[in-house]
């Protein structure tokens, strides 16, 4: 298998567009996601996150533009791209009546390089019995099975498509814990799409905010937090680089500004950075 987490970008798009009849899901998207760590792909529903990941897996074909997953164009060489990635869909794609162990064996039959011992070990560590039928497990456990299968591929890139959406807070944390451990090993890069911003903050290394199929913001989590401040409504903004205003708690209007000056306003949370750029995207639209 070629391509590891430390080689070049894991994902590159150039003017990537995906159109479904009248709907434009991804619009002229040009983005580069470097290798290593966890990149959070954030944005509201319909922002194009899932479509982007589905194009990476070869489930959808771009209407226009280019896409490379670890140097491979999945539209032209889907098999080579799939060799390099593991995928966790939004809703676990499991056979309800089939035991977990049979899922792992099926994956081995489908992909001879599948590391069944590694996947099994992950599940046993989480207390998920291989003998359990998938349909009898909770949503969190089913998501963990999907993640274990993706990890069992031993692919250098994992694409996690909104796996947290239907999980309870505890299950989210457990899921993110496993993903984070995998990324810390250094052999795996993870692109995690989500609109649950608060819980991403603790595990993500980079942010990529999409809105209406376009990139609204991209940076490391540390820079995002260090380079932005929040001003309460009514504070003077003259000379400041204001990103956008948005309603804060209690309907007070907040302003997100680009600044490293700690004397200005207060420190922003990651959620506020993301919301600020989403508001900017909406204004631009």
């Amino acid at each position: 298998m070629s391509g590891t987490a430390s080689d070049g970008p894991v994902l590159e798009t150039h003017s990537l567009t995906k159109r479904y009849r009248r709907t434009v899901a991804v619009s002229d998207l040009t983005v580069t996601i470097p290798a290593g760590g966890i990149t959070a792909l954030l944005g509201p529903n319909g922002a194009g996150k899932s479509t982007l990941l589905k194009m990476c897996v070869g489930f959808e074909r771009p209407t226009k533009g280019g896409l490379r997953v670890l140097g491979v164009d999945p539209a032209r060489r889907r098999g080579d791209a799939l060799h390099r990635l593991g995928y966790v869909p939004q809703a676990p794609a499991l056979y309800r009546d089939m035991p977990v162990e049979d899922h792992l064996r099926l994956c081995l039959a489908l992909r001879p390089t599948f590391d069944i011992a590694h996947a099994r070990e992950r599940l046993v560590a989480l207390g998920i019995s291989p003998a359990s039928r998938a349909g009898q497990l909770s949503g969190g456990e089913q998501a963990q099975i999907s993640l274990a299968i993706a990890l069992g591929t031993r692919a250098p890139l994992l694409l996690l498509d909104e796996p947290l959406a239907s999980l309870d807070p505890l299950a989210r944390r457990e899921f993110l814990g496993v993903a984070s451990d995998a990324a810390k090993g250094g052999d795996v890069s993870i692109v995690l799409s989500s609109h649950v911003i608060s819980e991403i903050e603790s595990v993500a290394d980079r942010l990529l905010v999409l809105g209406d199929g376009r990139v609204l913001f991209q940076d490391t989590v540390a820079s995002s937090l260090g380079n932005h401040r929040i001003l309460e409504d009514g504070a003077p903004v003259v000379g400041l680089d204001v990103v956008a205003g948005f309603p804060g708690q209690g309907n007070a209007r907040h302003l997100l500004v680009r600044s490293t000056d700690q004397s200005i306003g207060r420190r922003s949370s990651l959620e506020e950075v993301v919301i600020g750029y989403l508001a900017l995207g909406r204004q631009a639209a």
């Binding site: 489930f59 869909p89 809703a91 794609a93 056979y95 064996r105 099926l106 081995l108 039959a109 999907s146």
Partner: protein
């Protein structure tokens, strides 16, 4: 668990269902056979008009045998004829439509680096199952025919009506049903609509194959005395006049028939246009080939659709 078992595991319920129905068919056939053999009737006595001494007092048994055989071996026969096509239809739907409908194709298509590999891994064993069912179906039908008419020589063609249930016919029909179900499932991606649409298409395909074969058979027909038609298929009736002309029945009757008695001049010979039974092997091969080609074309199309569609 071998790789094959693992690959077949998602279809276990349907495969067990097919195995169960096949076992039921064999049990039913065995039951009919045991019941009929229990009559212990010599073949000569199955003719209820028989005057043989060994049949004396067994006419009632002969009638009971004939009644039971025509009812139950007929039912088992219908069951046997339908089995490969129905199993092909269900397994074809399960192979793709169920995976798409229940979104489990997402797992397979993201783990397996080749969709062709995924589809081949499940298609080839299912085709083997259909071959086995085709053989079982043909053998059960043969046994039922043998029980219905014990004196019949089943090593020889018994008539063109046997095309769908003898030799490779059932297997080929099962294959075409399987291919059609696969491609319909791949296109529609929904379980119930795919099942209904595929069932309708399988019926249409069977009618088209039969009609196509009938048309070709008509082109291979001969005209001969009706008495020589034998097990061949008569497709038209006519008369040969005393002066050697071949005319239609109506024309011949108007000229040589007696309207009062309805009888023909004894010098007029009844003729028939018929398909000779001697060409049965090539007609049967063509019938099976049509189904096989249809099935293979559908399978090829199914592979192409799977390769391109989203899960």
């Amino acid at each position: 668990m071998t790789s094959l078992r693992a690959a077949m595991r998602p279809m276990r319920t349907e495969l067990l269902g097919v195995a169960g129905v096949t076992a039921l068919l064999l049990l039913a056939a065995a039951g009919v056979a045991v019941r009929l053999l229990a009559f212990d009737l010599p073949i000569a006595c199955l003719d209820t008009e028989s005057t043989s001494a060994i049949c004396f007092g067994r006419q009632f048994d002969a009638q009971a045998y004939a009644s039971f055989a025509s009812k139950w071996s007929g039912l088992v026969g219908i069951f046997a004829i339908a089995l490969p096509a129905v199993a092909g239809l269900i397994l074809g739907i399960v192979a793709i439509a169920k995976e798409l409908d229940q979104r489990t194709a997402v797992l397979a298509w993201s783990v397996d680096v080749s969709r062709r590999h995924w589809l081949a891994q499940r298609t080839l064993p299912l085709l083997a199952v259909i071959v086995v069912l085709g053989v079982v179906s043909a053998e059960v039908m043969k046994a039922m025919l043998g029980l219905q008419a014990p004196g019949i020589d089943l090593s020889q063609p018994i008539g063109f009506e046997a095309l769908p249930y003898s030799g490779f016919g059932p297997m080929a029909a099962g294959m075409s049903a399987f291919g059609i179900a696969m491609v319909v499932g791949a296109v529609l991606g929904r379980l119930l609509p795919a099942l209904l649409a595929a069932a309708a298409l399988v019926v249409i395909a069977n009618l088209l194959v039969s009609q196509g074969n009938e048309r070709l058979m008509a082109g291979e027909s001969l005209v001969a005395e009706y008495a020589s038609v034998g097990a061949g298929r008569a497709i038209d009736f006519m008369l040969r006049t005393p002066d050697g002309r071949i005319v239609s029945w109506d024309e011949g009757f108007a000229e040589f028939g007696d309207p009062m008695t309805g009888e023909l001049d004894p010098a007029v010979v009844q003729m028939a246009r018929y398909v000779p039974i001697e060409i049965y092997p090539q007609v049967a091969a063509r019938y099976a080939l049509f189904h096989l080609l249809l099935g293979m074309a559908a399978l090829t199309f199914a592979f192409a659709v799977v390769e391109r569609r989203s899960p």
